[in-house]
Symmetry: C2
Subunit: 231 residues, 2 copies
DNA sequence: GAGATGCTTCGGCCGCGAACGAAGCGATCG
DNA sequence: CGATCGCTTCGTTCGCGGCCGAAGCATCTC
């Protein structure tokens, strides 16, 4: 059958541990080199090359050559969405899971990027705050920024108007958080919020990880603007 | 890493052709017996048993024993969503695809069920009609039933009020159609619409397939109520 | 009861594909 | 201009996992 075979074909590409780790590492939207991906995949350069070739051939990844490096990134938001769907199931739909062990995991649980927006306790807390204050309305699948929310974001210096008419990309949508098992903010609004936090140095990336650290300044600002305290 | 391994684990389960075909067959929400699934998977009963055991262990499928039969169904809407995500990518995100060949494919392209709602040319045409008439508003991710739409559906005998307050399940959302590459209606509204069409015998299931046939009565009713003509 | 039917368990076979190292090629650096 | 680095290609090895058929255990039918 036409349908099933495509399904299996794509899923089996994601179904290899090395490739899955590579894809997961690219979930934050960055582009990584073949060597970096070999490392996160836990395989040799030659093996990684074969994997990356397959992922590119299937259009899961796009590649851009720059000098002697080859930078890979997820080929489209559709890929990110697909992976998100699988990870969400893996985290909350599958067999019961356990809480984090290592300190690295702990950081991931606290705050991390998810493609281009924020997830973890911080992401969920932000979404909660936005909802509680009537800035956004969220259902399971849809989200909407209220006029009140638009104004409030404007007050803290987040230019929402310029984004507003981006009808093509999704403006505001919930994204199920695999660690908190509750929705956080994705879409244009979620991305803008994340950018804002980075710009103001409320958060900063943690090396070699999707996790982010909340700076002292961020602690203060988040409490002041959103009533968030993640101690 | 914790994340990647779960991702690979789940994806590899879907990544086997036999299992993928079984899962695809269950996408319409029905429950099938082990023997039926062995058939759609194209494998022997013993092999199917092993596959189904794995899918159940990973909580992709739930099983209910009835007499000497074991009925399998997708364990949760989360699984359906995950598969939907992969199929969507496989259909439109991957390498360029081709149009149908066999008559069976043709029927699938014309009209079929997608979990619990309608897809194919019919599904897309219904969504288009609903939008064109101002019954619903659709963005890429969200959907909303307008008061006008609510009234109109009421006129043709579709009790929408009773569904309205089902806040838990998603009320109305778009679902990307892999054959038409355009959204059709999913969510509670999409499901209610599909049920309505079945109840009135506007459409009827085609044996051993997710495809549905549009009855002569359906042709007339669809044209009258929605201005749809799929000749 | 005997005989189907539905499904699982067991044992053994086989092939795909992931793995590595060595070698080659192109780009960059000193 | 070598030397180094980033990546790919090639040839080979090897183990996991899918496959089947035979046998076994239920359950329903007559």
């Amino acid at each position: 059958m036409t349908v099933g075979s495509n399904l299996a074909e794509v899923a089996s590409l994601v179904g290899d541990p090395a490739r899955a780790n590579m894809l997961a590492a690219l979930m934050d939207g960055r582009a990584l080199t073949a060597t970096e991906l070999a490392y996160v995949g836990g395989v040799s350069a030659s093996t990684a090359s074969a994997h990356l070739g397959k992922l590119e051939a299937a259009h899961l990844l796009s590649v851009v050559k720059q000098g002697r490096h080859r930078y890979f990134r997820l080929a489209s938001p559709l890929v990110s969405r697909m992976l998100e769907g699988i990870m969400t199931f893996a985290a909350i739909g599958g067999p019961p899971r356990y809480r984090p062990h290592g300190p690295k995991d702990a950081a991931m649980w606290l705050a991390r990027t998810c493609y281009d927006h924020l997830a973890g306790r911080l992401g969920v807390a932000l979404a909660d705050a936005m909802v509680a204050r009537g800035y956004v309305v969220l259902t399971d699948d849809a989200g909407e920024l209220t006029p009140r929310g638009e104004a409030a974001l404007g007050d803290i210096g987040l230019a929402v108007d310029s984004l507003q008419h981006a009808h093509k990309r999704v403006f505001c949508r919930p994204c199920l958080d695999w660690s908190e098992r509750r929705p956080h903010l994705a879409g244009t609004v979620g991305a803008a919020l994340a950018h804002h936090c980075f710009d103001r140095h409320w958060i900063e990336p943690i090396r070699d990880s999707r996790a982010v650290r909340i700076t002292p300044a961020g602690q203060i600002a988040l409490r002041k603007d959103f009533g968030i305290d993640l101690s």
